[in-house]
């Protein structure tokens, strides 16, 4: 399988974060990522990525604004002609920083909120942050950026989806991402307390549909569906190692941010060029194309549509990353998902959440 050229780079500048969202998809093993790439190291990554064909740069983390060089790296991306997107909790996006980022050529800002109102948002974030987020959203619009609001939905906030949409409208967001929780990292750890019930989803759906119709042409409503309740799995990001790559804070290179958990040899910009990793590394080659697929995917006419689902989810649930994503109703492992869904639809579900620590060794 010949590698195509990647379109996007997810640059996870640091996993440090002032928030401690229990749904956070960051790795549970933060200790391995403390040795962060230097500014020169990141500059080199961006230059190599541009040469590989990357056109979009997502600056994320952790909280990317904790890196003092985020403005400088934005400028590097801009000089390379990349479209740049800051993915942020908005803590640290004060007026001075925002103006510097604007001058450095940042194209787009995505701010996450945890709910539509302060008390719930701060509780889920584990930090007083809601008011500053709202201020930052207004600043983003004032400075003329397009604004995406991102809200991770789960059992403890999905009943507020109507109010979340109203908040996005009030803030004049250009897009809203209603991202049902993906169960990686801390979210996997907290899955039972986060997975919504069928009744909750049924209640949210018409609210989202009505808002989408009402806001058409003004705000784009992007809905990431809860795959545990789907018949088919979510497609693996346009195919494994086909369109995107991720560089973790320590320089590890991954086909997707969840892939750090897979039992495959590590690839790092400290040891190899991005080009070589993208084209030849065992990690990137492992599930490229469709040749690796077992049945039922191998003989399925959807194999070029969803690529057999998510490798990381297959690994997480079955211990074998090459199996069909257990979310698929054709998977022999679907019972693993059904068990979790059944538990989420019982009368009482424990709602206790384990917060993600702010950094390795801290809480």
């Amino acid at each position: 399988m010949v590698a195509e050229q990647p379109f996007g780079l997810l640059a996870e500048l640091t996993y440090r974060c002032p928030l401690s969202c229990a749904y956070c998809s960051n790795p549970v093993t933060l200790t391995e990522y403390g040795d962060e790439l230097t500014t020169a190291g990141w500059r080199d990554v961006l230059e190599q990525a541009a040469a590989l064909g990357v056109l979009q740069l997502h600056l994320s983390g952790g909280e990317p604004l904790l890196r003092r060089d985020v403005v400088e790296l934005t400028r590097v991306g801009r000089d390379l002609g990349m479209y740049s997107n800051l993915v942020t909790s908005a803590l640290g996006l004060d007026r001075r920083r925002a103006e510097e980022l604007r001058a450095a050529g940042l194209d787009h800002v995505q701010v996450s909120v945890q709910a539509d109102e302060q008390e719930m948002s701060d509780r889920i974030a584990g930090t007083r942050s809601f008011d500053r987020k709202i201020e930052a959203c207004r600043l983003v619009k004032e400075l003329g950026w397009p604004l995406t609001l991102n809200v991770v939905l789960h059992r403890q906030n999905i009943h507020r989806v109507g109010e979340v949409l109203a908040l996005a409208e009030e803030l004049d967001a250009d897009r809203i991402e209603l991202a049902n929780t993906q169960y990686y990292g801390w979210a996997w750890h907290n899955r039972d307390a986060l997975l919504p019930s069928r009744a909750q989803l049924a209640e949210a759906e018409p609210v989202v549909d009505a808002a989408r119709a009402r806001l058409a042409g003004r705000m784009e409503v992007v809905d990431v569906l809860p795959d545990y309740y789907s018949e088919y799995p979510k497609p693996c990001m346009g195919g494994w190692a086909a369109r995107q790559l991720t560089v973790a804070p320590n320089g590890d290179v991954l086909p997707c941010p969840a892939a750090h958990a897979l039992p495959l040899p590590r690839a790092s910009v400290r040891d190899d060029t991005l080009d070589h990793i993208w084209t030849h590394s065992p990690l990137f080659e492992a599930y490229r194309g469709t040749g690796w697929m077992p049945d039922p995917c191998r003989s399925c006419d959807r194999k070029d549509v969803d690529f057999g689902g998510c490798r990381c989810q297959a690994f997480q649930l079955t211990g074998d990353a090459a199996r069909t994503d257990p979310v698929c109703h054709l998977s022999p492992d679907r019972h693993l998902v059904d068990d979790a869904v059944r538990a989420a639809n019982r009368e009482s579900v424990p709602l206790e959440l384990v917060p993600r620590p702010h950094r390795a060794g801290a809480s």
């Binding site: 050229q5 379109f7 996007g8 479209y83 250009d174």
Partner: protein
């Protein structure tokens, strides 16, 4: 639709790595064919009639209805800002 311009949040550029024009926006990259790139490069706030006229200087056959359909599709994806002249 009277006149059109590229939305402020999208960027049209030539991508040397692929040898094609691309339209970049927050979450998508559209790789364009030569005609689409030509049409979009003309979307600088001028009238649709002028866009069609400019294309006719470059191409032998320009179907105005096709151009308008394309522009409407791009506008529906919020890549273009439309002024209806009202």
């Amino acid at each position: 639709m009277e006149s059109v311009r590229l939305a402020p949040h999208v960027r049209l550029r030539f991508d040397a790595a692929r040898g094609r024009h691309v339209l970049l926006s927050p979450e998508t990259v559209a790789v364009l064919n030569a005609t689409s790139a030509d049409v979009l490069a003309l979307c600088d706030g001028r009238a649709v009639d002028d866009i069609v006229a400019a294309l006719r200087e470059r191409y032998d056959h320009v179907d105005e209805a096709d151009v308008r359909t394309f522009l409407e599709r791009m506008a529906a994806r919020r890549c273009l800002e439309v002024d209806d002249g009202r």
